[in-house]
């Protein structure tokens, strides 16, 4: 059986011409390889060059930042996050930059968070512990924290993360390089990469697709999501947009709101944060369904005006949206078109096509992982540890995530399921849906 398949496959390869190859693997060549490797690689080189030429500017910005020594307000909203607080606060107290105020908001926790938070406040390890007796959701927690901030910059953190010693310093410097920058996203890496296969695969995804992807989009000026786990904002800009709107997907939403006001958003690869990612397929699926629904809710619905030429039209915002919608939404469905195309026109070659696709993607993934290592700030693990997991990335990224994304899009597009997500309290989601937010 296996010999037959192999034999058949070798014959298929022998008969493959360039035209034939392009016809059979058009999806990989034009969309995946071109966009996610060639284009990315080219932009990475440009970014590296620009970084080299701008190193003087960076040093000046750093000097200006230390000279001004602004107060940075760190806000940590969350529900039932007490167990993570001590580790988080310890990593914050280790920061090279010391002019920080730490504000923890307990969004109606029903565990020991209040006791832990009050203790930390009493011990002087945090500046404020604010408790909302009733849960209001992540956005209201963050907005509550905003009321207590005094800093020139606001850094939003997730409680289950920890931070490099120089992370706060690094994430603020981009504000001093360009006065139009209103938000900077930090580089999130996976702390629990060894926990399971799922976490190892996510670690690779965070290294390549997320981190490198954000370097590229940031350089192109179309960076879309400042991660809630580690994002810095100018306090005055946040005041202008009146803080966060209801989630899920509030990270991307606030980024768009800032961009709409003409601000620039940057990604800082060297500001590193470690987070714990879902360790089972079930938990991961739940998380990704939530993330992917926000593309429809925020980009296609709430902020669709970005795509319409009007007074506030910005080409960069338009391009950022278009790129996002094209590569995540349209291509996701185009992949099914490709699948149907192959099944309809080359049913006898389907197995060979799938095998070739898997080999092509695996080869690309290996190449990306190795080549991109030249462009990463650092990793929190040995590269060699991940090499054996690279072959799984085809199935993880090409099949699993694609299916999850498809389900999420359908659920949100036709059923507006994000408004039913218990991640947000129902009392707020009801209004968000009514107001089409």
């Amino acid at each position: 059986m296996f010999d037959d398949i192999l034999d058949n496959y070798l014959r298929f390869l022998e008969s493959l011409t360039v035209e034939h190859f392009i016809r059979l693997f058009w999806f990989y060549i034009f969309f995946e390889f071109l966009r996610y490797f060639i284009l990315e690689f080219a932009v990475l080189n440009l970014w590296k060059l620009s970084k080299f030429f701008n190193r003087g500017k960076y040093e000046k910005a750093k000097k200006d930042f230390w000279f001004e020594y602004p107060l940075i307000s760190i806000i940590i909203p969350g529900k039932n996050e007490g167990k993570h607080l001590y580790k988080l606060i310890r990593s914050l107290n280790e920061q090279t930059y010391r002019n920080l105020e730490i504000i923890v908001v307990d969004d109606g926790s029903d565990d020991d968070t209040e006791i832990i938070g009050r203790d930390l406040e009493k011990a002087g390890l945090i500046d404020h512990f604010i408790r909302n007796e009733v849960r209001g959701g992540k956005a209201s927690g963050a907005n509550t924290a905003l009321r207590f901030t005094k800093g020139k910059y606001i850094v939003h953190l997730d409680a289950d993360c920890s931070y490099d010693r120089d992370a706060m310093e690094k994430i603020i410097i981009p504000f001093y390089m360009d006065k139009d920058v209103a938000g900077v996203g930090g580089n999130v890496m996976v702390r629990n990469y060894k926990e399971s296969l799922v976490t190892s695969l996510q670690a690779i995804e965070y290294y390549d697709t997320i981190s490198i992807g954000r370097v590229v989009t940031s350089y192109l000026g179309i960076y879309r999501i400042i991660s809630g786990a580690f994002g810095a904002f100018r306090a005055d800009a946040l005041e202008q947009v009146k803080g966060w709107d209801i989630g899920p997907g509030l990270d991307g939403d606030i980024t768009v709101k800032l961009r709409k006001l003409g601000y620039k958003i940057k990604f800082e690869q060297e500001a590193v944060c470690l987070t714990s990612v879902p360790n089972t397929v079930k938990k991961l699926t739940k998380q990704r369904l939530r993330w992917d629904k926000s593309l429809i809710r925020f980009r296609v619905r709430k902020h669709k005006d970005v795509l319409i030429p009007n007074q506030a039209f910005s080409f960069l915002n338009f391009f950022a949206f278009l790129e996002n919608i094209t590569y995540n939404l349209i291509l996701n469905f185009k992949w099914y078109i490709y699948l149907i195309d192959m099944m309809a026109n080359y049913p006898s070659q389907l197995i060979n096509i799938i095998i070739t696709n898997i080999l092509l993607y695996t080869f690309t993934n290996f190449m990306k992982f190795v080549v991109y290592s030249l462009y990463r700030a650092r990793t929190n693990a040995s590269y060699t540890y991940f090499l054996i997991y690279i072959p799984c990335m085809v199935f993880y990224f090409g099949y699993y995530l694609r299916v999850v994304r498809t389900i999420a899009y359908i659920q949100e597009f036709f059923f507006k399921r994000s408004y039913k997500d218990p991640w947000n309290p129902e009392k707020t989601s009801v209004h968000a849906q009514r107001m089409k937010l």
Binding site: G108, R131, N132, V134, G136, S140, T144, D245, I246, K427
Partner: protein
């Protein structure tokens, strides 16, 4: 019908063989009280009554502080301290015959008491309280909430002896008395006292956790559900009407719980602009001015004290010392320690065949003895007794006071017959010592020796040892 004789010059009233001192002003030589059967205070002024009662009841001499005190009422007496410390009221001197039985009763009861010059101030206070309770036939010492008290609660006959600054000592003394078995107690309340001066008159304030100022404003925080805006109430008010409008999405707030709620409050310090959610609570002492966090205050239990049988006997026979007083005498160990060592000795005897003993020397008439001495002299006497005993026993034997009138000692690894002989010699020496040092005083001693039996507990041995003492 006896005749009522009023001597206005001397301010006295005589009736039925009793002499009453009539007090109308503060120019009182309080020693005069001792020459009369009772005191009648002209109740025209509350402050005056309070001061006079205070001066009589806080006096050191039982001839004065136990004297019956009555109020000749011109005004309503609402002061609870005064009410607890007087024995009755008269509406006019014509009613004096009504108080005669009370005067008689108190004076008779007072006559039954033996007073000792107690060893320490604490013992003196305990004796004073229990003798007063005995003469007034009071079983319980109730704390009363009292506005003039430094501890907020007042034990009239005890607290009256202290000035405002030292009033907390009343609580210490009652604790000692309870340890000595004079009182049983039950919980009534808890008070918090200044950690600096132990005063209970404190001003509690909510203060800014940053600068400690109590000058702040408080606003509700509103969470507007549709747009997740969170801000103080003032963000939502408008200048036109009383409605609330969201500054972020401009929607009108309609219904709490439906489109908005108030999840918390925001306090803003007017002194340092600090915004916070939880105040610190501080207590400012009105006596010394110290400003402390409430966690730093000293919590004291206020208890109701009831006289025990031992307390009643001590009231009649006199209360000489507390165990704290006799523990300070060099050459002795605490009675608890003595019991522990006795326990080990009994355990040791289970393994060996030796003979060990415990002995006791008891002063049969301690109140007669102590009443003729000052507290310092009493301490000297006890020290001398211990010195004599110590010089006649081996260094390995130990001495302890079971009470101020009973000395116990161990005599280990020695036949009981010999122990008896040694003890008899010691008692003779003690008698000679007292005869030479305190010539006017006759002292009687009792003694007992008990051979240790490893089958019996230390407590049973002690019972056996002291059961014959009066």
């Amino acid at each position: 019908m006896p005749e009522l004789k009023v001597n206005k010059e001397e301010s006295t009233v005589e009736y039925a063989g009793f002499s009453f001192l009539l007090l109308t002003d503060l120019n009182l030589d309080v020693e005069k009280v001792g020459f009369h059967s009772a005191v009648i205070i002209d109740g025209h002024d509350r402050s005056f009554i309070r001061q006079i009662v205070r001066r009589i009841r806080s006096h050191n001499s039982p001839d004065i502080y136990l004297k019956p005190v009555f109020i000749l009422k011109g005004i309503n007496i609402i002061d609870p301290m005064v009410n607890k410390l007087v024995d009755g009221t008269l509406f006019s001197l014509e009613q004096i015959e009504l108080i005669i039985p009370e005067v008689e009763r108190i004076l008779t009861k007072t006559g039954e008491l033996h007073f000792t010059n107690s060893l320490s101030f604490e013992a003196q206070m305990i004796e004073k309280v229990i003798s007063y309770m005995f003469t007034c036939e009071i079983q319980d010492l109730d704390p009363i909430p009292y506005i003039y008290s430094a501890n907020n609660y007042y034990y009239p006959i005890l607290s009256v002896n202290f000035n405002h600054k030292d009033e907390h000592m009343a609580l210490d003394i009652l604790e000692i008395a309870e340890r000595e078995g004079v009182f049983d107690s039950s919980y009534v309340d808890k008070v918090y006292l200044c950690s600096g001066c132990q005063n209970g008159q404190l001003s509690y304030r909510e203060v800014c956790p940053k600068c400690g100022s109590s000058h702040s404003t408080t606003e509700d925080i509103i969470h507007h559900f549709p747009c997740a805006y969170v801000g103080p109430l003032s963000d939502f008010t408008n200048e036109i009407d009383d409605q609330l409008d969201c500054p972020k999405c401009n929607k009108r707030l309609r219904h709490i719980g439906v489109d908005y709620d108030k999840p918390s409050v925001l306090h803003e310090c007017k002194a340092c602009d600090h915004k916070f959610q939880d105040f610190n609570v501080k207590a400012k002492c009105l006596a010394c001015g110290q400003d402390s966090l409430v966690e730093q205050l000293k919590g004291r239990e206020i208890r109701k004290y009831s006289l025990t049988k031992k307390g009643q006997i001590a009231a009649i026979n006199g209360f000489v010392s507390t165990s704290k007083d006799i523990e300070e005498i060099i050459g002795t160990v605490k009675f608890d320690t003595f019991l522990t060592m006795l326990k080990y000795e009994i355990e040791r005897l289970k393994q060996t065949e030796g003979a060990s003993n415990i002995c006791a020397i008891h002063l049969s008439n301690p109140s007669q003895l102590y009443s003729k001495m000052g507290s310092e002299v009493q301490k000297v006497l006890l020290k001398d007794l211990v010195k004599v005993i110590r010089s006649n026993i081996r260094t390995s034997d130990i001495i302890s006071f079971q009470s101020s009138s009973t000395i116990v000692l161990s005599m280990n690894e020695i036949p009981t017959r010999i122990a008896n002989k040694i003890l008899t010699e010691i008692v003779e020496m003690l008698k000679r010592l007292i005869a030479t040092s305190f010539k006017d005083i006759s002292v009687e001693f009792e003694m007992e020796v008990v051979k240790l039996d490893y089958k019996l507990s230390p407590q049973l041995h002690i019972q056996q040892l002291t059961k014959n003492f009066g």
